[in-house]
Subunit: 309 residues, 6 copies
């Protein structure tokens, strides 16, 4: 059985109400803005995808599925969400004038949030939103390292005539100056391959096919991030399609659940995670397992980052 | 185009947020409990169905779809929701011990609501919830007439050994004393047919096949309800499956959109509607039209009832 | 509520079993071969379709949905299935060597059935199975009139190099000599149009677009069938796609539920129906309304034909 | 049976090939650019929708379904596509920089097409593409009347901060000067209602609820368009959701198949149609009936317009 | 290719019938009650789930899929089903009055079955049915060890006010006295974690995350069950969602096919399996792989248990 | 992000077109028949399956998904498709008269293709098409070894009275004389098991369960194929259903992505691949990951075979 609907609220003699639709379905006292240590920001945006869209339905699907997650964590022997509080912000409205306008509005919103006091967790939406998040974070924290889980390098300089496509996400983040470390990569175009060769100091791409047979990437990761500020951006297509089929461009040969958990927990342990996002969930009607997996991943990352302190 | 996401909230310079997930996606000032004239009570319950379940996902689907409805009503030349305010309560938790316990908890909740001050609109859930609603209403209003739209008479005295099945909803409501007028009926068992024959003063069933060729039923309706208190209970399977395929036991030959609207508006005009419910939506993944139709129906009934005053 | 699972069997103190998966979910005593007046023959065959297949899943979907149908019929004030008995035969295996071999095996099976003692009702499967049924019937009854409900005339002489395609069904039935009367037609190729013009004594096609504005077709029908032996073949794509979207080549502008019922009941009343089939249901996963509608249609035809006697 | 795959090409002794994936699956000789009287332009674009997207998959779904349509037309007793030739252009690439850029690129493409020699038929895509089409047409034809079938008036001046949203389509077309006549409208916001009241000479909106009970709208239409140049823009949500559930914001109470056909054929007969589009099909996986209906509508309009000459 | 429909029955000259819808689609002579060594009992019940329901459709989906399984087993070089006979009982009707009444009716039915002569295999349905099965088995066999595969411990004492929720299944089985050994656990609430710590002699939970890196659990298992009577209860959510997405609350990080097979075959080999169940399949329309996997698992367990003797 | 729609064609000032629907969405200059080194032949045929059909939609799904594949290959540091050219032939029409006629028409088509000059890659369709391909290849190349990836041995001599069922594919290929090496096998009937035992020189079946724990099969493979001509036939059900659920008879316990890649690349490296096919994709509406995986596999095999030269 699952943890379905276990968190009733507003109990009265003879009846009770189900929890509200915030992340984890928390009662008001566990999810108040003021007292919460974590902030969930849903950004239901997809506009630059041209194959299978639907990433704008990702945040809603993650929030709905999250109500089924057990709050108790067996490793911590605790219910971290209740100890820290998790507040879910209203969904940020996309700016439909242009991709660039949306990125800028995301940056403006992130700048207005108390990112040094609370852990920001963004739910996408297509990967281009991470550029807005990164810009906002830069104004709070200055330079940082980006750890990116993704099937694709997202290193194009321009795509379909816009530099703000999801295919350019990592490239735009690099504009801010910090290094990018990528895991799960298995799809590149030639310009991205060339960029990787020419910029070894800026970007490192761990190919999924190599990670499959050689587990030394964790050591390499630690070397790059040890003691640094890290923005963790998780494109769910980093996972193998057997784990997350619900994404715009699934690529076979990806990472499995415990692979991703290990990377994420290493990042949390060895660096200072300043914010993270989970993007590119494009829910498939009738198939709720990927939504649940994405929601659980969000809670696992939250727990790993906040649990460290 | 639709009214998608038109109601932004929390506008800041450079960005804005999307509306919350209440009925119609209203801003806090238009949906506060104190000032709202209407109350939406979601009851995500289905336990006695044994064919295609899923009615417990109905309330969530109606709420989600409702955010796309235009608030403006062309007949009233007004935005009724903004004038009256509509507050969405948290979902009532089913009591899984037994069907009877759930009915009783619904009645208890309804008794605690200010049904004489605000119009109660219940979103189901399977049809047995109407029994709980009716019991709660009785304690506020005393006897009333029930107008039921349904493909099925729901007049069994017991079904699968419980008198609280959705197949017994109208029979249990009759226990409270008032009359029941039914529209759209096209599926009966013999015990229900016998009960109908033996109790012409208690129940009138307008068969869909007769309604199809003879439109005199509105006159008959007015005669029964004129100036009375009415509880309106809409089982969405009253509609033809081409309009609402998303229900547990769809029956061909049902009512169309303008048929239902005409009945509902007649009831609103000729009687005093004390509360209403819309039940048995069992959403089909990937097919959002029925959810939208159900949500629009809820707003149309709300508008018809409150707009009269 | 529906009639779901109302027919329990094998009742023991403390528990009971659900009905078996025959047509209507009848108990053994109501569905024994010897005592039943009607025989249901499922033929799960589709091989000559080249667009959306799936008609071979039609019989199973109709049988499953049929368990939810109320046995009571309000017009007859009776439960006809219990009075007459309905036996469901095992599904006929398609002969995968060739289309012709399958047609021949169907004819052989029908010849072996007691078609003069019991009413045969065949569940398809693609429309070509009707050719096998017709050949079998011919050996029992000699010449008969065929009443065909269909969006397509099925009058090609050959299609994709085989004369046994579903596109040739009516043409092959004509080979047996009797007349064919068609309703709901709205898709023809030129060879079919020419055949219609050249053979007014053999085939009459009532176009759906004409039927929509001129209801005189019933009179024409009666003239053709009065007192004759009739084989009734219902291709479900005769219905408008809003009623039956679950078919291989849905065509807009089709017949509605009460239109079909009226034709079917006229045929039952005015002629001697020697057998009927309901074909081309290609179930859509997650959408059970069309399956239910098809199952109810089968019961309505059964009732109309047997109820006459 | 349907017309599935009936048009084989490249026949060799012993085998043959299926037709290519152009509109109607025509052989090269029936679909060459030079000799074709009609041009199909697919525009797979959706970026400003924020509820259920997917309109960018519309053109592909229409093309695929179109291969099943019979070329023969019973009213004309002809196979119009073979007589006139229909050429399918490659799909126009959306310009992902901004909505405005996409509109402009559509206008540029239309300007480059020989719209006075060949009938242009555009397949959407969201409704905002019609603005680009209209601009292109203006440069070929000067002022024209627009006949719009839609559930929504699309008369907002700005929506989500962009004047190029699908919610502004009719308003932007009005910027070009000609009149707009709308049918099937049943969803408006207050600014649109006000605009309608203030601009009776520019726009006429026929409400679906009025059209349902009063058929005089055809006379009103003829008066407005008689002998004029007309751009016909069909938002598929004008249809009732029972006919076309596969659209972003389905609205109950819409037009049926023969209602739309009658309007379209009246327009073709009484005016000079300079181009038309069919937009907002958002295909539902597994449900191919709406795709087929949309494809058949396109062929019906083509036939009505070209057949007149 | 698969084994589809390979078991024809009732062969006549010229045609044949497809097999009936029992487990494995066996012919009457291979599935007669008297001569069969195994009994399949379908229990289509789900009432206490409040997230994604649908487990009541599990038994039907397993039976349908089972007809495609090859009877031949390569390890045994035999067709075990033909040697032993497998009889499928009609589905047990749920008692909709309350969860407790259903559990009791299951126990009553199991008590009436010849569990010492034939191997009972139950198909769920939600996990709470295992409590009824266990009670029935206790009256046949006295105390036994329960081996539970599950993502969840199901050790709550009460859930939503009922002690008969699927979330309490293992706790209720423990009431009978025997020990419970769990595999695949990855979701617990605090009360369950506390119960586990306080009752090491009663329950052992092997966490999936530990099983993933340390394979010593088989040795631990053997120690606990060697030579004992075992009731094997398989909640399909023990599997990773990539293997079985079709379950109410899928949890990432679960067991794979060969992991489960190894545990099951170890149990069969080292202990005396007195009965087993496979529960919580909630079929996803259109996705038949999980149904097939569940059906094959049932046959694999049957083969392992009966093959030992 | 994915490579979606990256290959625009027909660029004009102000707008551009999307690529055509050939394999990989290549521009005309990269996909001309004359200059292309590889030929893609789609064969949309399924007629002998009797469980879940739909394999005839496989070729179209692979072609559509292929437009999203990055042309760049990181191992080769090249864009092989652009260097070699890949031409997509029109789809071969099935011959609906009989299974045998279809096989013969495939053989005739293959014989007419320049298989010694260009690499033939066939997209199925059910597995029986491989028999036609093999016959055609035999007339070009004489005897060859067949490497088959499959869950099923396909070694029946006859199935449902036809020797041309997909269940007989390998057996019919053996009729041509060469050896068959099978991988991933986990479903056999007794006649196939017997045939395997009696013909060790003709067929070798590597069972998936053995391959799971013992990786020596690659050595065995090399021994069999070293320097020989090989026809590679990939039934996608060789994959585990978590990778490819979209197939008619999915079997748990199958091969994973890197397992298949390793076998395929070994075959390409050690032998001379004369042609290959990828069959039995039966697309699931709404679930595009398997289509994408199949398309990527086709490109990987193409690259491995042509890249060797
Ligand atoms: Mn569980
Ligand atoms: Mn469980
Ligand atoms: Mn619209
Ligand atoms: Mn519009
Ligand atoms: Mn009902
Ligand atoms: Mn009801
Ligand atoms: Mn037909
Ligand atoms: Mn037809
Ligand atoms: Mn296979
Ligand atoms: Mn095969
Ligand atoms: Mn990506
Ligand atoms: Mn990305």
């Amino acid at each position: 059985m699952g943890a379905d609907a276990q968190r009733e609220v507003g109990r009265a003699p003879g009846y009770s109400f189900l929890p509200p639709s915030n992340f984890l379905g928390l009662a008001p006292e566990d999810s108040a803005y003021e007292t919460s240590r974590a902030l969930i920001l849903p950004i239901p945006y997809d506009a630059t995808t041209s194959y299978k869209g639907g990433a704008k339905d990702g945040p809603r699907a993650i929030l709905e599925a999250s109500a089924q997650i057990e709050l108790y964590d067996v490793e911590l022997d605790a219910e971290p969400a209740l100890e820290w509080g998790v507040h879910t912000l209203p969904a940020l409205a996309p700016d439909l004038r242009s991709a660039e306008a949306t990125i800028e509005s995301i940056a403006a919103a992130v700048i207005d949030l108390p990112c040094r006091e609370k852990l920001l967790c963004v739910l996408g939406g297509e990967h281009s939103i991470s550029v807005g998040v990164a810009r906002g974070l830069y104004s709070h924290f200055g330079e940082f390292v980006t750890v990116q889980l993704d099937a694709h390098a997202d290193l194009r300089d321009e795509y379909h005539e816009t530099p703000y496509s999801h295919a350019c996400a990592a490239r735009r983040i690099l504009d801010l100056g910090g290094e990018v470390i990528q895991f799960g990569i298995r799809s590149l175009d030639r310009t991205e391959a060339d960029f990787l060769k020419e910029n070894p100091a800026k970007v490192t791409a761990h190919l999924a096919s190599v990670m499959h047979r050689d587990r030394s990437y964790l050591t390499a990761l630690i070397e790059k991030i040890k003691g640094k500020q890290v923005f963790l951006t998780i494109d769910l297509d980093a996972f193998d399609p057997s784990v997350i089929p619900a994404t715009g461009t699934p690529e076979p040969g990806g990472l499995l659940w415990y692979d991703v958990l290990e990377i994420v927990q290493t990042v949390a342990r060895e660096s200072t995670v300043i914010a993270f996002d989970v993007v590119e969930l494009a829910p498939i009607p009738g198939l709720h397992a990927p939504d649940f997996t994405a929601a659980k991943l969000v809670y696992k990352v939250l727990t790993a980052v906040l649990g460290k302190e």
